[in-house]
């Protein structure tokens, strides 16, 4: 069960919360807080599941995701998108960009866990 999860999120407290929740359940969690080099980090780390925030300094989460989906290596990477904007058009954009799951902040810890579990390859 001990998969690798990469969290790309710029809010330190949220990183800390997600890290704590996932670690407690046995996930290996890596974090990154900048959008600019996020895609490279993903490629180098090759996580089992990627948790990606939309509003990142340097580059938007949608952009990063589109790049990942265009890359054969990360084409099928399970991606859970997080956004603090709760509008329906944000969900649509996430789906179009290729998100596996979409979640609006604030989320419940159980939800995040369940999503990561579901997304992680067996």
């Amino acid at each position: 069960m001990a998969g690798h999860v990469l969290v790309i999120e710029d809010e330190p407290n949220i990183i800390e919360a997600i890290s704590f929740i996932l670690s407690r359940e046995g996930w290996h969690v890596a974090t990154h807080s900048n959008g600019e080099d996020a895609a490279e980090i993903v490629r180098s780390r090759a996580p089992d599941v990627l948790i990606l925030d939309v509003m990142l300094p340097g580059r938007s989460g949608y952009d990063i995701l589109r790049e990942l989906r265009g890359d054969a290596a990360t084409e099928n990477l399970p991606v859970l998108m997080l956004t603090a904007r709760g509008q329906s058009k944000d969900r649509e954009m996430a789906e179009r960009a290729g998100a596996s799951r979409f979640m609006t902040k604030p989320f419940s810890n159980a939800e995040v866990l369940e999503a990561v579990r579901a997304l992680a390859p067996a």
Partner: protein, 890 residues
């Protein structure tokens, strides 16, 4: 002896005959094929209404009493007509061109449309004409009496009553059929022309019978005359001249004469013929007067009424048919006068009294033209009834005595008072409304005082009046003003009233100034074009129709115009494509045209073509009014269309702005959502961790609790900022102005901003010397701005050892610069940092991005400005505060 019934039957038949004549003439005129109606001879004969029953019967009576004096009554008008070139032609042309409807209208029009004058002349006319109408009723009654032997007051009154009613009906039917602008009545004129022939024929027949039938020849008759008292009758030169002048004046001024002579006149041709034919007619009328009088005095018993000789002489000789013809002649004289007088008076009463009142009362009623038309017709009809009722009442009241015949001259005298105003008006441009009023008033008053009232005798005025003058003032004696006595009362009145009338008119005109309209009208009347009018004959009917067609095509468009003309031609039963220019057709055409060019313009155009009328000043003014209205209307339209496009542009701009605002609002809401959800996410996540509780160290527990705490504070601050900004943006904030030292404000701000500056250690460099400036401002708010700027430096300055220099400069305004030693704000971001949520660096600093937006709002409210200074070593903000509120330290 002819029975009364036969007489009544013949009278009724005769009246029916007149009805028929009038009816067919009217119909012919409507169909527009009645050039003969405008024949000069018809016009000439219609002038014969001058010879009323008073002349028909009374001339003989007058001759029997006063010899040849009766001739003066004929000579006056003859002179006027023979001299038509000087006065009549001008009068008639003015009437035609100005479309004058009555003598009151003439005076009123000439003096600037003065309704007061119109009313005055109308009243004068009614007062002057009423006894005259009574006289006609009396003459008919007397003549009936001659036949009926049986005489009684009741009988008399009944005859007069029915005659009055019959005349009213006839006049209403033929006098108010159409409301032609010209007020022409072809039917009535034709009937009068026929009556003119009847009365001339009757008088001639009686005369011939008297000369050849009774006397036995011309020479025998002359012998008889020589033998009679008439042959030795002395001519009173003064009275003759006076009577001639009076009859000439009356001929011009009498409402009925004005009606037939001026209003019914169609062209100069008519006048040209009347100039010689009417004096001839009068001569024929007077030819046998003296023989009849002489023979009457000879053959009839003494004491017979000479006024009825024309009837009684034939009857004496058993010539019933002749007597009947004579009766019809007298009847004709009476009826024609009454009819025309009623038409003329009703026009005046209706136009100058009833309509102005009606219009004033119904000022607010939207008047449809047909509506007004009906009112005018109704008021005419009522006026006719009123005039005849007045005449009848006058007759009934006066009892039909001999006084009535004298009243004819009295009435002449009254109406002659209009003469100075009329002649002055058409020959003298200096004549004014005031002058006319003065002259009329003075003349009328003298007439009433010296002639009208005395004519009623003691019934009205006290005896003493005629003995020693009023209040014992002998010089005010009504029949001997200024002590000049021994003159004939009529002459006396004429001299004094007309002299004072003329003098008052002249003096008042000279001493008053005419209004512009009066001036224009005066010029129109006095300088009436001598060459125009009347040259065209109405026989050019088809040419006129063609002209009308050409005009109509220009205005209505050729298809519409042709359709209209064809339709009307068919309706008239014509097989050509041009209808005859009948009054009805012209009216229709005018109405059609007025839809396009306005009523006044249409009227002027049609009048120009049909009547050969020149366009009057009034027409031009009306046209100008219409044009002005149209121009105003189109200007309004243009303004409205400009207004519309302006409004459309404004709406477009407003719409763009709203769209922009809507987009901004969406972005703003999205931002707020983000800013709120982020701290809430942490709070929720950690609170769930704490709630679940398993496997957390005490250290972690306390750390997470403090995260929740900090995030809650962050949320609160965010909400505070949002509310603050909202209040500032709406301008709802009230400033708390007060005195404060700049250095104090900075001290407070520095302390507050660096309170949490635990590790980074931002160095603040200040020059306290320059900060000694007293400010009159909201120091709390200003300090809020400074806190924000210092905090920003603390949060975002990326230098190794961050430092902030605060530089105060005093110039025209107070400048406070905040310059740090970091890398500054990227040039592309400098424009947006003052916008809401415009965070440009990473979000570790934890601001919501509202600080600079709030700061800018505050500084603006304080009357200053805040901006980013580019080109400095680090991030640099400049706050400028107005110095009128910043006082230098003492």
């Amino acid at each position: 002896m002819t029975t009364l019934n036969a007489l009544a039957a013949i009278s009724i038949l005769y009246v029916l005959f007149l009805f028929a004549v009038a009816f067919f003439a009217e119909r012919a005129s409507r169909r527009g094929r009645a050039n003969w109606l405008r024949a000069p001879i018809v016009y000439t004969l219609s002038l014969s209404i001058y010879c009323t029953a008073w002349t028909f019967y009374g001339a003989v009576g007058s001759a029997a009493r006063n010899g040849f004096e009766y001739l003066t009554i004929y000579l006056g008008p003859s002179l006027v007509l023979i001299g038509w070139w000087w006065v009549l032609r001008k009068l008639v042309r003015i009437g035609r061109v100005q479309r004058i409807t009555s003598i009151a209208d003439l005076i009123s029009s000439r003096y600037g449309k003065s309704n007061l004058l119109g009313v005055g002349v109308t009243l004068l006319a009614v007062i002057g004409t009423t006894p005259y109408i009574a006289l006609q009723l009396q003459s008919v009654t007397l003549s009936v009496e001659v036949f009926s032997q049986a005489s009684g007051g009741e009988q008399e009154q009944t005859t007069a009553f029915w005659v009055a009613v019959g005349l009213a009906v006839f006049t209403v039917i033929f006098g108010t059929r159409n409301l032609d602008a010209n007020e022409r009545h072809h039917g009535v004129v034709m009937a009068i022309a026929v009556e003119a022939i009847v009365k001339l024929a009757a008088l001639m027949a009686v005369g011939i019978f008297v000369v050849w039938g009774i006397s036995g020849g011309v020479s025998e008759t002359l012998e008889r005359i020589d033998a009679s008292s008439l042959g030795h009758w002395e001519v009173n030169g003064g009275r003759w001249a006076g009577l001639m002048f009076l009859s000439a004046a009356a001929f011009l001024c009498l409402p009925r004469m004005f009606q037939v002579m001026v209003v019914e006149n169609d062209n100069d041709q008519q006048l040209r013929m009347a100039a010689w034919a009417f004096p001839l007619y009068l001569m024929l009328m007077s030819l046998f007067i003296v023989p009849i009088a002489v023979v009457g005095l000879d053959v009839l018993p003494a004491g017979s009424n000479p006024d009825l000789f024309v009837l009684t002489v034939p009857l004496e000789y058993g010539q019933n048919a002749l007597a009947l013809l004579s009766f019809l002649g007298g009847f004709s004289s009476a009826t024609s006068m009454v009819i025309v007088a009623a038409i003329a008076l009703s026009t005046m009463v209706s136009n100058h009294i009833v309509m102005p009142i009606w219009l004033r009362v119904n000022e607010n009623v939207v008047s449809v033209s047909g509506d007004v038309r009906n009112v005018v017709l109704l008021s005419r009809r009522l006026s006719i009834g009123g005039v005849l009722a007045l005449g009848y009442l006058y007759y009934a009241q006066s009892g039909g005595g001999a006084a009535l015949s004298e009243i004819g001259l009295v009435a002449f005298m009254g109406i002659a008072q209009v003469l100075p105003a009329m002649l002055g008006g058409i020959f003298w441009r200096g004549a004014t409304r005031f002058g006319a009023l003065a002259g009329l008033t003075v003349g009328f008053s003298i007439w009433v005082y010296t002639l009208y009232l005395p004519s009623f005798g003691a019934a009205i005025l006290p005896e003493s009046f005629f003995d020693g003058g009023p209040f014992g003032l002998i010089w005010l004696h009504p029949q001997a003003l200024f002590g000049i006595s021994g003159i004939d009362p009529l002459l006396h009145t004429m001299i004094w009233s007309l002299t004072f009338n003329a003098v008052a008119f002249f003096v008042a005109s000279l001493s008053s100034f005419p209004s512009p309209l009066e001036r224009l009208q005066g010029a129109q009347f006095v300088n009436i074009q001598q060459g125009t009018g009347g040259a065209r004959s109405w026989s050019q009917g088809s040419a006129e129709a063609e002209d009308l067609m050409v005009m109509a095509q220009r205005i209505l468009g050729s298809a519409d115009a042709q359709r209209l003309f064809l339709r009307e031609a068919r309706r008239q039963g014509s097989d050509t494509h041009l209808p005859a220019p009948t009054a009805e057709f012209l009216q229709i055409l005018e109405r059609e045209l007025s839809g396009s060019v306005g009523a006044a313009t249409a009227h002027a155009m049609v009048g120009q073509i049909v009547g050969g009328m020149s366009i009057s000043v009034e027409d031009l003014m009306a046209v100008a009014d219409e044009t002005a209205q149209m121009m105003e209307y189109s200007a309004t339209l243009e303004a409205q269309s400009q207004e519309l496009s302006r409004t459309a542009a404004q709406l477009r701009a407003a719409n763009d702005k709203l769209t922009r605002l809507s987009v901004q609002k969406d972005a703003f809401l999205s931002q707020i959502s983000h800013e709120l959800r982020t701290p809430m996410t942490s709070i929720r996540a950690f609170s769930e961790i704490l709630r679940d509780g398993d496997g957390i160290t005490a250290e972690e527990q306390s750390k997470y609790a403090s995260i929740i705490h900090d995030e809650a504070i962050r949320l609160t601050r965010l909400l505070d900022d949002l509310l603050d900004l909202s209040v500032l943006e709406n301008g709802q904030v009230s400033l708390n102005l007060g005195e404060g030292m700049l250095s104090d404000v900075l001290d407070r701000a520095e302390a507050a901003a660096l309170a949490h500056d635990d590790k980074r250690g931002l160095q603040i460099k200040r020059d306290r010397e320059s900060e000694q400036v007293w400010l009159n401002t909201d120091t709390e708010r200003l300090s809020q701005v400074f806190i924000n700027l210092i905090s920003n430096a603390r949060k975002y300055c990326d230098a190794e050892s961050p430092a902030l220099a605060i530089v105060v400069t005093k110039g025209e305004a107070l400048t406070v610069d905040f310059i740090d030693n970091g890398s500054g704000v990227a040039p592309e971001a400098q424009d947006v940092i003052f916008e809401k949520f415009a965070r440009v660096s990473d979000q570790k600093a934890g601001g919501a991005g509202l600080g600079l937006a709030i700061s800018r709002q505050i500084v603006t409210r304080l009357g200053g400005e805040i901006s980013y200074l580019s080109g400095q070593s680090g991030a640099a903000f400049r706050v400028i505060l107005p110095l009128e509120k910043a006082l230098a330290a003492q």
